[in-house]
């Protein structure tokens, strides 16, 4: 009788768990579809376009061709070895799904697979989070955490439909690896540790953020050793994990020998060594006298530790192990990137995080997760040390860089799940047990206090029965209010997903005064034009932001793209954009440019256009060509950045200005506005009669958002004017510049 009821209870619990997880998956999937419902099934933003293109290539030509793919359409004339410079996990995953669907005779285009991959994986992330939290705390907390992560805006921001990026699948791999690590630590079994290494391998193949795992797990092991929680389970799981993980991660072409040759991976190796020593110590402790033990280990440890440090520095100095990379330094020394790596500093994702974005992405979970942290510390055990370290380190990293909010979100969801489930366990579950016990208990002492607290003045005679009723009321009220908070979180998450994170940025949306939606499809219009009207091998010059999109949508060769690996090439494009026409013509001739593409938002008031990004072009160009490009020449006399009335002569003559504002002076955007009124910047432009000598307008989209220019071929007798970039108060065009000038023939 009892067993039957227990098994039915178990069945009910399992069913409930499955239903809740399935619902979490469904809700997570559905809430990520805003962009698709509003627009269409389309790849978003910039990087996803490259991933899509690479996936498409892989599906067409096969995996091995993909690994050897040399992409001559990027970084002209250098090209790019794609197979060796991408994390292939994303492409392989969607290729595999596509293949499975195909073999089941569900024929879908690879694009649909790519678009829906991230929302699908959000459900898997929820399940992985459930498993992790279940190991750390309880199944109930796991369900809370799964529901949180399914809709948490911090994670949704990177995984809406169409955002086909590494992070979409990497967070699943991250959580699953952590789950397997905790599991293997709990059981001390080689099987779980091997599975953990396999999952880690998947993570390595998917995202560069794997470095976080390979440092966090050793940190956990180290913390356990320091806390005196060493056990043979730790030894077995860590050593088997480390060996397998290192070998496996080296199989990814892009990672290669990094796991044994870079400083980022060395802590893991150091902990591996330390663990051997500790294990030896534990083995020897019972076999030798205390005196011998002390000499052996104090002396031995000092020597070995010193030796390890010396060897490490020798290897770094000898060039066998690479020192820490700049990206790594910029996480600790926050001023580093600004001085040494401007191209990293220029990306908005790498800025520090304001409290607003913390709250925006986490809402109530931000306030509750310290509570979960508190109880994890209070009731600490081996595996909870892990989540404590994870949360504390991730909150630091998220503070340094907006982008790393993504790694914080899972930790927050786990801990907030623990916090909520702790409370609800107390306030919902105990009610019945309390009722049962209340008949026996006689807590007359509390009667006065209860009345006061509940503001419920009643006769003392009824106190005994009252107590449970009142406390029951308090319990109910608290539970209801907490549920209200949870509902607020849901509403908030939906609002944020819908309003902030569901813009494809390939298609722009605005609304008229009476609320109708206008869709502006200028980008695709322009790319389509390029695809249809230019030669197949035409080279398009644009700022690097649009490289992936041009390659993906227009299928044309680009000079620079979002994989910003070659700073000097980018600087050259920046120099062409910020030079005057004749100097730019020279650069463009050297680079075989056929068309130039600029983004111009002055007509519709789109603020992310090239004029607003122009200062970065100038800065990056100045970094490489300080003789020719000077940032201060592009400012007005009063030191502002402006293209309006006070704009400097250099500004008015640079290629970017000319291409953006060519014939713009003839337009009127409003009835009572002067011609040439720039709506993005809110003033009339400085120079309206712009003539182009060496380039000609090829195409301008409906809302002027994209403008394409063609580099003119020189007439038979070349007549390029002397290429000069006048620099204020300095001998202009000295030495170097004159060298490349095509001599002017007397026309």
């Amino acid at each position: 009788m009892i067993t039957a009821s227990r098994s039915s209870q178990l069945g009910a619990t399992t069913l409930l768990t499955i239903v809740i997880l399935a619902l979490a998956w469904f809700v997570g999937f559905a809430s990520r579809l805003f962009a698709i419902v509003r627009f269409e099934s389309i790849i978003h933003e910039f990087d996803p376009w490259f991933n899509y293109r690479a996936t498409h290539h892989m599906v067409q030509h096969g995996f091995y061709k993909f690994l050897n793919w040399f992409d001559e359409r990027a970084w002209y004339p250098l090209g790019r070895i794609v197979g060796g410079t991408v994390y292939p996990g994303l492409m392989v995953t969607s290729g595999l799904i596509h293949w499975i669907l195909d073999s089941l005779n569900f024929h879908v285009h690879i694009r649909e697979v790519c678009v829906f991959l991230a929302p699908t994986f959000s459900g898997l992330t929820a399940i992985a989070t459930y498993l992790l939290t279940k190991e750390l705390w309880s199944p109930g907390a796991g369900l809370f955490a799964a529901c949180f992560i399914a809709i948490s805006p911090g994670y949704t921001s990177r995984s809406v439909a169409g955002s086909y990026d590494n992070e979409g699948i990497a967070i699943f791999a991250l959580q699953f690896t952590y789950y397997l690590w905790v599991k293997s630590l709990k059981t001390g079994s080689i099987m779980w540790a091997s599975l953990c290494a396999l999952s880690y391998f998947y993570m390595v193949s998917a995202w560069g953020g794997y470095v976080f795992i390979i440092n966090l797990i050793p940190l956990h092991a180290l913390a356990l050793i320091v806390m005196g929680r060493y056990s043979s389970r730790l030894f077995v799981s860590y050593t088997s994990f480390y060996c397998l993980a290192t070998i496996l991660s080296m199989q990814v072409p892009f990672v290669g020998f990094q796991p044994v040759r870079t400083s980022e991976h060395m802590p893991a190796f150091g902990v591996f060594g330390l663990l051997q020593i500790v294990a030896l110590m534990h083995y020897a402790r019972n076999r030798i006298t205390r005196q011998q033990f002390m000499t052996l280990f104090v002396g031995g440890l000092t020597i070995l530790g010193g030796l390890a440090v010396v060897v490490y520095f020798a290897l770094v100095w000898g060039g066998y192990v690479a020192p820490f990379s700049g990206r790594f330094y910029s996480l600790w020394d926050t001023g580093y990137a600004k001085i040494h790596i401007p191209i990293i500093a220029s990306v908005s994702e790498h800025q520090p995080t304001t409290w607003v974005s913390f709250f925006f992405d986490l809402h109530i979970t931000a306030a509750v997760f310290p509570v979960g942290l508190w109880y994890c510390i209070k009731k600490v055990n081996d595996e909870r040390v892990f989540i404590i370290l994870y949360a504390v380190s991730a909150v630091y990293f998220a503070g340094v860089m907006v982008r790393l909010m993504l790694t914080l979100t899972p930790a927050v969801c786990v801990l907030a799940g623990i916090g909520f489930s702790y409370t609800f366990e107390k306030y919902l579950k105990d009610e019945e047990t309390k009722e049962r016990s209340s008949s026996q208990s006689t807590n007359t002492k509390d009667e006065k206090l209860y009345d006061k607290a509940a503001k419920n003045v009643k006769s003392r005679n009824a106190a005994d029965g009252e107590e449970t009723a009142v406390s029951g009321n308090v319990r109910t009220v608290i539970s209801i209010i907490l549920v209200i908070f949870l509902l607020m979180f849901v509403v908030h998450a939906t609002y944020v997903t819908s309003n902030a994170y569901s813009h494809p940025s390939v298609v722009l949306q605005s609304s008229t005064s009476n609320g109708d939606r206008i869709i502006m499809d200028d980008f695709r219009e322009a790319y389509h034009w390029l695809r249809e009207n230019t030669a197949d091998d035409a080279r398009i010059m644009s700022w690097w932001d649009y490289g992936y999109q041009i390659a993906g949508m227009a299928n044309r060769t680009t000079l620079v793209d979002n994989n910003t690996w070659n700073n000097s090439h980018i600087a050259l494009v920046g120099k062409a954009m910020s030079s005057n026409e004749s100097a730019a013509y020279e650069i463009m001739t050297e680079l075989d440019v056929d068309y130039i593409l600029v983004i111009f938002g002055g007509v519709i008031g789109y603020s992310g256009d090239d004029i607003n990004k122009f200062l970065w072009m100038v800065r990056i160009a100045q970094g490489e060509h300080p003789k020719d490009i000077r940032e201060e020449n592009y400012f007005t006399a009063s030191g502002e950045y402006s293209t309006g009335a006070g704009a400097s002569e250099t500004m008015l003559n640079c290629l970017m200005y000319k291409m953006s504002y060519y014939r713009f002076g003839e337009t009127r955007v409003g009835y009572n506005q002067a011609g040439g009124f720039d709506r993005t910047r809110g003033y009339v432009i400085g120079k309206k009669d712009i003539t182009l000598e060496y380039i000609e307008e090829a195409y301008t989209t409906e809302n002027w958002l994209v403008r394409i220019y063609k580099r003119k071929k020189l007439p038979n007798r070349p007549t390029v004017k002397e290429a000069t970039i006048p620099i204020k108060g300095k001998k202009a065009a000295q030495g170097k510049n004159k060298k490349g000038v095509i001599r002017t023939a007397k026309a």
Binding site: A367, W374, T423, K445, D446, A453, I478, Y495
Partner: protein, 352 residues
């Protein structure tokens, strides 16, 4: 006539003495910069060495006011950076480069006439007097506003102007290592003193507080403050009303981050109170077991709870309700602070 000739001769001699030849001038400057890397100008030297041709060298001159009487807070740091460049120049540049560029300083206290002559009302100002610059021409000025005045920027300015590259060598700053070393030794000392009772290292409450403090610090955007250095609060120039909260999502004031951090902490405390209340109630119900004084409840709780006598058990509903009120009120506050920054956010709770 007889008296006139020696007079004329004397005058001529004085003129000659002033009109040093180029070699003499360079030698003079080299002598002056042999012992210290900067020439301190008075009116004579100024006329001679800077404003009078012939010259084949560039002078980089900082106009500043270092005396404590003049209220110029940035003069001192700017002067220090300038000194770093000058010293680097003296020690690292080649012989020929050192003959090309000299560094000088004009202090307002020493030579106010020069300031008047140059028509200057502000300090510090860095001028470059090029080799060919004639007497009355205006020299090139370095724009401190845009370029800043740290040594690297000055070095770049010098390089732009004179094509002499100065490798800026900053004397190492020992304050940070010393402070860290002191701190570490203090910590180790404390550990040594307390070596017999290292229990506090295993005190979970302490670790809990440390970890929670870290999370609140970072979640309230202190890292952003550290990197961007915003003002504590701003005062509206028109109404003179101080505002603690900046109206944009891209910016924050130090004051508001403190407010937010405290609000987060209070919500978390509210939650813990609610849980503790339930814990105590359960403990009471189950075995009526005697509890140790909970460090948490003694820290945060309400008067009713502080007078727990051993016979009297903790007051469950009061603590729970206080916790609940904490959560509701302070989370609503947090939400309203957020709404005041994020325009158009539609949801609120308790307060608008």
């Amino acid at each position: 006539m007889r008296t006139l000739v020696p007079l004329l001769l004397a005058l001529f001699a004085i003129c000659l003495a002033q009109q040093q030849t180029l070699d003499e001038k360079v030698q003079n400057l080299a002598d002056l910069t042999a012992r210290q890397s900067i020439v301190k100008f008075n009116m004579d030297k100024w006329k001679n060495l800077v404003r009078m041709q012939p010259r084949n060298y560039s002078m980089i001159v900082m106009f500043t006011a270092l005396s404590p009487g003049v209220n110029c807070p940035i003069c001192k740091p700017a002067y220090d950076e300038f000194m770093i460049v000058a010293n680097s120049h003296r020690y690292t540049s080649s012989e020929s480069d050192r003959k090309k560029v000299f560094f000088g300083v004009v202090d307002y206290e020493d030579a106010p006439q020069i300031f008047q002559q140059m028509n200057l009302n502000t300090a510090p100002i860095l001028y470059h007097f090029g080799a060919k610059l004639s007497a009355k021409k205006k020299p090139e000025q370095m724009d401190f506003q845009r370029q800043g005045f740290d040594a690297d920027a000055i070095g770049r300015f010098v390089q732009d102007q004179t094509e002499v590259h100065i490798r800026v060598i900053r004397p190492p700053n020992y304050t940070a290592p010393v402070v860290i070393a002191l701190f570490v030794s203090l910590l180790l000392g404390m550990l040594y003193v307390k070596r017999n009772s290292l229990d506090f290292l295993f005190n979970r409450t302490m670790w809990g507080f440390v970890c929670m403090a870290i999370t609140f610090i970072f979640m309230s955007g202190q890292m952003w403050n550290h990197i961007r250095g915003p003002p504590f609060m701003i005062t509206n120039p028109n109404t003179k009303e101080p505002s603690f909260i900046h109206g944009s999502t891209q910016f924050q004031l130090i004051a508001e981050t403190y407010i937010v951090g405290i609000l987060y902490a209070l919500v978390a405390v509210g939650f813990i109170c609610v849980n503790e209340a339930a814990d105590q109630a359960n403990g009471k119900d189950k075995r009526n077991q005697q509890k140790k004084a909970n460090p948490l409840s003694s820290l945060f709780s309400i008067p009713a709870n502080t007078q727990i006598s051993p016979t009297m058990l903790p007051n469950f509903p009061a603590l729970a309700i206080v916790g609940l009120v904490f959560i509701c009120v302070f989370f609503s506050f947090l939400l309203s602070v957020f709404r005041s920054k994020y325009r158009g956010y539609p949801y609120s709770f308790l307060f608008s």
